[in-house]
């Protein structure tokens, strides 16, 4: 559930495009076309799944004290009594007009865009802060661990990584909140105007990322240091620092580039634990809430946004990877099979 997917290997084949004389432009266009189809299917499936939930869920508390005709009037005003294909048609017509619909049970009659809009910046800011922190700390830690392999620092680092992976986040987040705030006097609750209240959530949020990046870069570097080109570089008499930065780190960035855009864009999804604990009015938990309240338009809009981001992120990742590593061609030469 973490935003930080641990990058493993470049995901080159996703770009499986066959023709030799393929320009980046036509590649882009075709890719967008494919993505639209995917998003369309995702949204439709989610739309239909939401319709499987019981009608009672739209009314929620107070159901008992309503007459059947009142219930019908309420459901009708929400538009959930129409046959599903009519609802689906209306949904797509509105969507084509750029209208995401209005919320039905989360904040009645409020346009979905108005609900989501103010929340994105919060999640985005925290997410960005956390990524920046976890990238810098994680990479540094990983690099030093690899250099100090099997020595004290490496062992401490591995201990940290194991701890973070082993203890449920729900537990150590709460622990940090309760004890760090009482020890340092940092505020428990987030307030946008108080810069101090940004610190702890950002740090908590980056802990998982630090472990993830450190683990991955350490593994990558340890593996890579066995490789022939490194041996060659060593034989040439290159300094180990030079090898690190010129060869290893650069190569390490290639697979990471594939995940970076998705990771950055997905920051807007927020972290459900952190935002819940610190009262951050962000996106974390919005989807879970919307689903449990059966707010169809809100769920659909969120899934649409997340699916689009996921697909756009992958696409940007491919492009970024091709830019960093000239050996990778978005347009691949003849298939050998």
């Amino acid at each position: 559930m973490s935003v930080y997917a641990t990058p493993t290997q470049p995901d080159r084949p996703r770009l499986g495009v066959r023709r030799k004389t393929d320009s980046l432009l036509s590649y882009t266009i075709r890719k967008i076309g494919q993505s639209l189809v995917t998003v369309f299917i995702v949204i439709t499936v989610v739309f239909l799944l939401m319709r499987l939930l019981p009608m009672e869920g739209y009314i929620g508390e107070g159901y008992d004290k309503l007459d059947p005709e009142q219930r019908e009037a309420i459901l009708r005003s929400m538009g959930v009594l129409d046959p599903w294909y009519i609802q689906l048609k209306n949904f797509y017509i509105d969507l084509a007009r750029g209208d995401l619909g209005t919320s039905i049970t989360f904040r009645r009659n409020v346009p979905v865009a108005e609900i989501i809009g103010p929340k994105i910046p919060y999640s985005f800011k925290f997410g960005m802060g956390a990524i920046a922190l976890s990238l810098t700390c994680g990479l540094c830690m990983g690099v030093f661990q690899a250099r100090e392999k099997d020595r004290l620092f490496d062992r401490l680092g591995t201990g940290y990584i194991v701890f973070i992976n082993a203890v449920p986040a729900a537990v150590y987040y709460l622990f940090l909140q309760l004890y760090i705030t009482s020890a340092t006097g940092l505020p428990i609750l987030f307030a946008p105007e108080d810069p101090k209240s940004w610190i702890l959530p950002t740090i908590s949020m980056s802990l998982g990322g630090i472990a993830g990046y450190a683990m991955w870069i350490r593994r990558f570097m340890v593996d890579e240091l066995n490789k022939d080109y490194i041996k060659l570089a060593k034989a040439k008499g290159m300094s180990s620092t030079g090898i690190m930065f010129k060869h290893v780190l650069r190569n390490a960035f290639v697979p990471m580039a594939q995940y970076l855009p998705t990771t950055l864009l997905m920051t807007i999804a927020g972290s459900i634990y952190i935002e819940s604990l610190y009262s951050i009015p962000g996106m974390g938990g919005l989807l879970v809430d919307a689903i449990s309240r059966q707010d169809n338009p809100l769920v659909q809009a969120l899934v649409l946004i997340y699916a689009t981001i996921g697909i756009v992120g992958l696409f940007l990742g491919d492009i970024l990877m091709a830019i960093i590593d000239p050996r990778i061609k978005l347009v691949k030469g003849g298939g050998a099979r």
Partner: protein, 320 residues
């Protein structure tokens, strides 16, 4: 003896003797007692921490299996009645009678933790096995069989973008919260990431020269995948599998957190921890969080270390 003398003697003696051809001995030169799996295990066993982890997991597994049959064990759901008050024996800190204490309605935490470990390991292993098998099969087909690529990519993209919460909510509503619901929900989408991972690996090596050569020789795809591609991936797949077990347990904790967990009548590490979480700020009751968290951490850490060690060991480059 002068140099010259020596040279002379050399000249007179034959430098090489002609050996008889012996078919058996000829065979032996081509033989090495290297076995991939034996070497893997040997390297693995050299890693003391990993062995410790292996022992821990084995002990845990054995213990959870035999614990209910040991003498003096309580039923995890039975409410213990205090003799003094005639009421439920609530929140009793760990003592001689209740090794891990009791919870807020007087159930034995010791029994609950082992029952919970059993449930969680069952979930973890089932889900991880299923996801590994399905993920490897689909990932291999996806990566190797060109005809299937488009379809599987589309299915992947769609499934990956449908929020798990929707599926969980629907399943819980239609099937009622239970162990099978939880396992079905986690199996429904859990294989996706392994499939994608395997597919990427397959694609990276599918067009290596030796595979090209095999194809030229007319080896069928299934044989190439089974013999050439997958063995190459054993180490990474084992790592993923090892991490999938704690991953599944972590997902269970998360699902419990958002209210889609198992009923309390079926203890699991997820719901034990979630209940304990609410007591975090109370020092005297913290044992209700610490014990399940420690057991969970032992399992996760062991699998994690084992996975990494095994992955290292499975890499032939380390088999020196």
């Amino acid at each position: 003896m002068s140099v010259k003398e020596s040279l002379n003697t050399l000249e007179t003696k034959a430098l090489f003797e002609l050996a008889e051809y012996d078919a058996t001995r000829a065979e032996k030169t081509g033989y090495s007692n290297y076995s991939y799996w034996r070497s893997t295990f040997r390297v693995f066993l050299k890693n003391k921490v990993a062995v410790l982890a292996l022992i821990t997991v084995t002990l845990l597994l054995t213990f959870t299996a035999v614990q209910p049959f040991l003498p003096g064990q309580r039923d995890p759901n039975v409410i213990n009645i205090s003799e003094e008050t005639g009421r439920q024996a609530m929140n009793i800190p760990p003592n001689d009678e209740f090794i891990f204490g009791t919870n807020s309605i007087g159930q034995d935490l010791w029994a609950r933790i082992w029952a919970g470990t059993r449930t969680s390991l069952l979930i973890g292993l089932t889900v991880a096995t299923w996801n590994a098998i399905l993920g490897i099969v689909i990932g291999a087909i996806w990566g190797y069989v060109r005809a299937a690529e488009r379809v599987i990519t589309e299915i992947y993209n769609v499934m990956d973008n449908i929020p798990n919460t929707i599926i969980m909510t629907l399943l819980a509503y239609m099937l009622r919260p239970s162990l099978s619901t939880m396992i079905i929900a986690m199996c429904a989408t859990g294989w996706l990431s392994i499939a994608r991972f395997v597919r990427t690996q397959v694609v990276i090596i599918r067009d290596r020269e030796y595979n090209l050569a095999s194809r030229c020789l007319g080896t069928p795809a299934s044989r190439i995948i089974g013999r050439n591609v997958l063995p190459y991936l054993v180490s990474v797949i084992m790592l993923r599998f090892a991490l999938a077990v704690p991953g599944a347990i972590g997902t269970e904790v998360f699902l419990t957190y958002i209210g889609l967990g198992l009923p309390l009548t079926l203890p699991s590490l997820g719901n034990l921890i979630n209940q304990g979480r609410q007591l975090m700020s109370v020092p005297i009751l913290r044992y209700q969080l610490i014990y399940p968290a420690v057991v969970l951490s032992m399992i996760t850490i062991s699998f994690y270390i084992m996975g990494n060690a095994f992955s290292d060991a499975a890499d032939p480059r380390n088999h020196v």
